[in-house]
Each structure stands twice: as structure tokens, then as C-alpha cells.
């Protein structure tokens, strides 16, 4: 018989070579160019994959920066890895970024559970953990976690803003609340209750919840309507936000309708619900909406559209995440510019804590980013706005948790 025989040695050699590929990793990637390495994890797969666009946009953004010559002579490399929104995978990927790729900072790691899983690790390793993409309140805790910094207007602050607005304009409101049954929904709810203070028990007449896996929230809306409430706080994610707006209108309930910022998008929530059904909906916002006609010729918006057309053609210009991601990337750029040429972890953290009245043109007029060694919440302001059937109209002052 003539069979090809593999000598024993070649098997050994082949398996050694394979394990070499497995374990050597990108050790040989060092080149002469001056480079700053940032790392992030993103849910490119899994249940939250809709947010993956944030990571894609930010990679495109730093490509643009590099094309324009980089920052202070340095090129930026953003290593963006998939964690599938699964915390164990986040831990693995973040350890790879920190221990193997030697990133100087983590930037915009997305999701509350994934960030919770790495919270202690990055602080023990003293790696800047900047602008995490979640609205949970716990990221602003510089005393216990000096290396972690949030970004978003926190869910609790948002809830407090609604509560203050109601106390001021409608102190006898009978409030019905619909919220998503998870940490996000409960965080906004807590903000509302804290903001109402002692009056929370009497003002809130009915609460209802839904699960992300529910098909609709129609029955919840009918239950809330039946409570006789005249004010409705809608704490939902986009799909359910659109359902709720439509059902409230169709059922003939005419409450003062407050919809949370997560679901305020004209393009992805109000349009599918029917614009005429969304008239007089109130929300709080801190950045400009790409579908809002009043910003059509806004210079910052035009610049953003040009960027989208040139560097991120696959991106959906109706998706608010693409505006958000751009704002955060610009903030990161600002931090790196402030660093000069000292890109040590300590200096990056120091500069991240040193954003003073930073005006980002895609933020609403009057809203500024401020941070400090005791303030790890870059955005703490929002402004109320009301939908008039075509666009949102801002009203009142820029509000924060401390303003009245």
C-alpha cells in the first residue's frame, strides 16, 4: 500500500507552530511611527449589537484624525473588540487590551454589565477607563474608582429633571409611569422619585413594567390609562417608545406625555409611531437630533454629515447613536490634545479630569462639558424640549440636578 505518511516529527513541529501562532500574538506589530493605542469593547454581536455602530463610527473618526496628521504628531490606534455584551468576554478582551496590546487607556467600553465586570480590574491596574457608554450613575465615583469616568447624562439626573419640571409646572399631577424592568429603567425611576421627594407617594398613582422580550406594551398603557392619571412618564427603549406613543394616542388618553431621552429620536421613534400622534411630547436632550429640521444647516451638523459621507458610509444618518459616538470621540480627542506629548496613563487621567467648559458644537447650545478630580460625570445638564409635530422646540433653561 502506498499511503502518505507523516513522520512523527512533522506533527510535533506542526503543533508547535500552531501554538506559536496562538500565543505569540501581535508582538511584532511595533513600528517606528509614534502611536497612541486606545482600546474598547463593543457589542458587535449579541443582543445589543445595534449599538455596535458607536465603535465603528469611532474607528472611522480616528482614521480621519490620522489622515489629518494625528494629534500632536501622534497617530491614534483604536483597538475595538467584540464582547457580544457578555461580561466574561469583556473581562477577557479588556485583559487582552491592557496586558497584551498595552493600550494607554480604555475608551467607551459599552454597557452597564460589561463595565461592572471590569470596574475593579481597571482601577487596580490604574488604566484610564474613560467615557463609558452607559447612563448608570455609579461611574461617577472618583473616591472609590478614580480611574473610571462616565459620559452620558446619567439616568438618575434625567429622572430628577422631569421631577423638577413637574413640581414646578404641575404640582398636582397624577403620574403614571411605564419603565423597562432592568437597571436602566429602575435608575430613571429612582431619579424621578428622588426628584419628587416626599410628594412621590401621592403624585405617582400607577407604575407598570415590561420586559425587553415582551412583544408590545399595549396592555400596560391601557392599565395606566385606567388609573386616571393625567401625566405619563414613558421610560422605554425605542421599539417600545414608539408603541407607547401610538397606543396612548389611539386609546384617546391625553396625558402630559414625558418620554425619556433614550426614545426621543424623531427618526427611529416618533416617525414610526406617527408624527401627528407625538405632538406635545416632552423630553430632555443634550445633543442635536440629525432628523430635527432646525439643525439642517447647522455648521456642526454639516460637518458631521460630511464625515459620515466620507469615512462612515455604512452608518445610518438617522441613528442618534452616530451623533452620540461622534461627540464622545471628539471629547476624547480633546483630552489627548490637552496631553501635549505626555501620553502616560496618569497624564491622560489628569487631562480627562481637566475639561473646563468644553463646548462641543453637536451638543445643544448652552450645554458644556465639565470634569474635575471630584467630578467624573462630563454631562450633567439637559434641556427640556417639546415636539410640535415637525421638530422639537427647546424651552426653559438648561437644567442640571442642582439647578432649580
Amino acid at each position: 500500500m502506498t499511503r502518505v505518511k507523516f513522520p512523527k516529527l512533522s506533527w510535533v513541529a506542526a503543533s508547535l507552530a500552531l501554538s506559536g501562532v496562538l500565543f505569540a500574538g501581535p508582538a511584532a506589530a511595533q513600528s517606528g511611527a509614534k502611536e497612541i493605542k486606545l482600546g474598547q469593547t463593543m457589542p458587535y454581536s449579541g443582543p445589543a449589537s445595534a449599538y455596535g455602530t458607536i465603535g465603528k463610527l469611532q474607528q472611522a473618526y480616528f482614521k480621519m484624525i490620522n489622515d489629518q496628521g494625528g494629534i500632536n504628531g501622534y497617530k491614534i490606534e483604536l483597538i475595538s473588540l467584540d464582547d457580544g455584551y457578555s461580561p466574561p468576554k469583556t473581562v477577557e478582551q479588556v485583559r487582552k487590551l491592557v496586558e497584551q496590546d498595552n493600550v494607554v487607556a480604555l475608551f467607551q467600553t459599552l454597557g452597564t454589565p460589561p463595565n461592572s465586570a471590569i470596574h475593579k480590574y481597571v482601577n487596580a491596574k490604574k488604566v484610564p477607563h474613560l467615557f463609558v457608554a452607559t447612563g448608570a450613575t455609579k461611574w461617577n465615583d472618583p473616591k472609590d474608582f478614580p480611574w473610571t469616568m462616565g459620559f452620558n447624562l446619567s439616568y438618575q439626573t434625567e429622572g430628577q429633571i422631569y421631577a423638577k419640571y413637574l413640581l414646578k409646572t404641575k404640582p398636582n399631577a397624577k403620574i403614571a409611569i411605564l419603565y423597562q424592568n432592568d437597571d436602566y429603567g429602575k435608575d430613571v425611576l429612582k431619579g424621578v422619585k428622588d426628584g419628587l421627594g416626599a410628594k412621590a407617594n401621592t403624585m405617582i398613582v400607577k407604575e407598570a413594567t415590561y420586559e425587553v422580550t415582551d412583544p408590545t406594551v399595549d396592555s400596560q398603557i391601557l392599565t395606566l390609562k385606567a388609573s386616571g392619571a393625567d401625566t405619563f412618564i414613558n421610560i422605554t427603549t425605542p421599539k417600545f417608545g414608539a408603541q407607547a406613543v401610538r397606543k396612548v394616542y389611539d386609546s384617546g388618553w391625553k396625558p402630559l406625555h414625558i418620554i425619556n431621552n433614550v426614545s426621543a429620536s424623531v427618526g427611529s421613534v416618533l416617525t414610526p409611531a406617527g408624527l401627528e400622534k407625538a405632538v406635545d411630547v416632552v423630553t430632555v436632550a443634550y445633543y442635536k437630533d440629525a432628523d430635527d429640521p432646525q439643525w439642517k444647516d447647522d455648521p456642526a451638523m454639516l460637518k458631521w454629515r460630511a464625515f459620515m459621507a466620507k469615512y462612515y458610509r455604512d452608518g445610518d444618518v438617522h441613528d442618534g447613536s452616530n451623533i452620540y459616538a461622534y461627540i464622545v470621540a471628539q471629547t476624547m480627542e480633546q483630552v489627548l490634545r490637552q496631553c501635549g506629548t505626555d501620553f502616560s496613563r496618569a497624564n491622560i487621567m489628569k487631562q480627562a479630569e481637566n475639561l473646563k467648559n468644553f463646548k462641543q458644537p453637536l451638543l445643544l447650545p448652552g450645554i458644556v462639558i465639565n470634569t474635575g478630580p471630584k467630578d467624573h460625570a462630563p454631562i450633567e445638564q439637559g434641556q427640556l424640549e417639546k415636539f410640535n409635530g415637525k421638530q422639537y422646540v427647546l424651552f426653559g433653561d438648561v437644567l442640571g440636578p442642582s439647578s432649580n
Binding site: D82, S86, V91, E92, R95, E99, P113, H119, K120, D182
Partner: protein, 341 residues
């Protein structure tokens, strides 16, 4: 020629099947030597690699325990489970809650996690007896998809931390041992792996193992021979869950975090993939399968950022095409060829 009546087809089929090495006498000298070399390599590896790689291998070791548990149930006993992620989660949460609420030392949580899962698996196995094949697969599927929501439920929130999960403190090595935390965790997990693989091997190569395979291949004949099918099936379910639960506890301590999102339904499917790729009804297959589920997704991600899951699929199909008996089957085949040549 007539076969003597005493020889049952079940046992003969088993003896003839190359995929199961049951009923073999104790290990040959060469095999013992091989295992010793493997153990020496396993002990040397953490001194050669960085902490990140050690962490990955620690995770792979805990996955291998879970895969061995699943393999007992599906590979040896023929009961399909699509919900073993749930037992992994129960084990992980048992460890996390004991450490977080009751101040248990980390090492004491592992046996407790095993016992809790043994009971849970046995109880789940009782009604599951009435379900065969695909129907059992569906019932376990239900368990797997329900688990993340059960963990978020209000009544358990005080213990499970709801959607926010539980953060676990990373254990330190004993003071007399000059190793890092990651190295220590690796050795801790390795010790459990060796122990559980030894016990599993002991269990599966003897009477019990033969009975399990007989139930898988010829349930009626097995019963006729006096095998208590119902009892064996539920006990197998329990032991399988025990292995998976211990694996979950070890993995949670390794990751230092347990949350509902860590144990989504995809985890259960990953276990099935690892088991089949490693080799059904093979003890060593659990190790190969664990390496596959730990490292192949990363390699796929390195090859293509745009479509890592497509690359993963190509790997999977390639493995199944080239090694229909799993990695363990292929290695057995090669060894066979080798000793002949």
C-alpha cells in the same frame, strides 16, 4: 451460528464501537507516561505565559469540566441538553452569593456549588425522564432561555443583585507560595480539573459507564438486563449538573463577576458545540472542546473583524468535515495508524 443468549447486543455493540473506550483495563504504561508529561506541561505553562494567557487557560479548564459534565449526559447517556448554561449559572451564582452575602472563603464555595447543582439537576432530571430525545432537548432549552430572567426576578434580587450582578473579590495565593493571583487561580482550577477528570474516568470506565452506554444504545435491552433506567438517567442528570455547576463556580471566581448577561442561551449552545467538536462520549474530548470554544472565536475575530461568526462557522464545518468523531476521534485514529506503521 447462533450467538449465546447471554451476550446481549447492547454490550457487544458497545465493545465494538471505537468511539467508546469503556471496559478497558487500567491505563497502559505509555498512557500513564503521557498523562504525567501532560500534567508537567500544565504545571509549567503558567510560568511561561503572561497573566492574560493564564487567565484564558483558566477559563478553558473550567469549560472543560462543564463539557465533561455535558458529555456524560449527552455523549455517554444519549440525553440531549440545550440548557447546561443554566447549571453553569446556578454554580456561578452559588459561589458568588456565598462569597458576597455569607463571607465564605472562595475555596469552600466550590463543593457547595456542586451539591446545589447536583440536587437541581436530579430534580430536573426526574420529570425529564418522561421526555425522550428532541423533547428533552426542548425542555432543557426552556431552562436555558429562562435562567437569565429568573436571575433578574424581583424576589431574588436581594441575593442576585438583579441585572447589575455580583462582583467577586479576586482570591490571593497563600502567603507561602510565591505566585501571582492569576497563577494561583490557574493551579486552583487545574487541581479541580484533575480531580474531576479522574473521578469521571473512574465512573465511566466501570459498571456505571457500561450501564449509561447501554441505556443510550439499547434502552429496552438495558432494562431487561436489570439496569434501573429511570434511576440511572436522573442520577446522570444530577452528576452532569454537578460538574457543570463546579465549572460555573470556578469560572465566576476567575472572571470575578456574575450577572444574568454572562449566562445567556448562547452559552448553552457553545457547550454543545464544544462537546461535539471535542468528541462525543470521550473524556479527553472535553479538553479539546474547551480549547476550541475558548480560542477559536478569538482567532476568527483576528482573521476577519467584519464577519467573525462566518469564519467561526467555517472552522466549525471544517472541524466536523475533517474530524467526524471530533478531535478526540481524530487523535485516536491517528494513534491507531501510528502504532500500526
Amino acid at each position: 451460528m447462533q450467538t449465546p443468549a447471554i451476550q446481549t447486543p447492547a454490550i457487544r455493540a458497545d465493545a465494538a464501537a471505537p468511539t467508546t473506550r469503556i471496559g478497558q483495563p487500567a491505563l497502559s504504561q505509555r498512557k500513564i507516561l503521557g498523562l504525567v508529561v501532560l500534567l508537567v506541561i500544565a504545571c509549567a505553562v503558567p510560568f511561561l505565559l503572561g497573566n492574560y494567557r493564564i487567565f484564558q487557560l483558566t477559563m478553558a479548564l473550567s469549560y472543560s469540566i462543564a463539557l465533561l459534565g455535558l458529555n456524560m449526559l449527552t455523549g455517554f447517556n444519549g440525553q440531549i441538553s440545550l440548557g447546561h448554561g443554566a447549571f453553569f449559572a446556578i454554580g456561578a451564582y452559588t459561589a458568588a452569593i456565598l462569597m458576597d452575602k455569607a463571607n465564605f472563603p472562595y475555596w469552600a464555595t466550590i463543593p457547595v456549588a456542586g451539591v446545589v447543582c447536583l440536587v437541581a439537576g436530579f430534580l430536573f432530571g426526574l420529570p425529564a425522564l418522561r421526555l425522550e430525545g428532541l423533547y428533552l432537548a426542548l425542555a432543557t432549552f426552556a431552562l436555558g432561555v429562562a435562567m437569565p430572567q429568573i436571575l433578574k426576578h424581583k424576589s431574588l434580587e436581594h441575593y442576585t443583585g438583579g441585572a447589575m450582578g455580583i462582583v467577586i473579590i479576586k482570591p490571593d495565593a497563600p502567603e507561602w507560595l510565591p505566585v501571582s493571583q492569576d497563577q494561583w487561580l490557574y493551579f486552583f482550577t487545574l487541581a479541580w480539573t484533575v480531580l474531576l477528570f479522574f473521578l469521571g474516568w473512574n465512573l465511566l470506565r466501570g459498571r456505571i459507564g457500561r450501564a449509561l452506554v447501554a441505556i443510550r444504545d439499547q434502552p429496552i435491552a438495558a432494562q431487561a438486563m436489570g439496569v434501573n433506567t429511570a434511576m440511572y438517567k436522573s442520577i446522570t442528570f444530577g452528576i452532569s449538573a454537578l460538574y457543570t455547576g463546579i465549572a460555573g463556580a470556578l469560572a465566576a471566581i476567575g472572571v470575578q463577576f456574575a450577572s444574568p448577561d454572562s449566562f445567556n442561551f448562547f452559552l448553552s449552545l457553545t457547550f454543545v458545540v464544544g462537546m461535539v467538536v471535542g468528541g462525543l462520549a470521550s473524556i479527553s474530548g472535553a479538553l479539546y472542546g474547551a480549547l476550541f470554544i475558548q480560542f477559536i472565536p478569538n482567532i476568527a475575530d483576528d482573521i476577519s473583524k467584519a464577519a467573525p461568526w462566518a469564519i467561526y462557522g467555517v472552522f466549525l464545518i471544517g472541524f466536523m468535515y475533517v474530524m467526524p468523531g471530533g478531535v478526540a476521534g481524530a487523535i485516536r485514529y491517528l494513534r491507531h495508524r501510528w502504532s500500526k506503521s
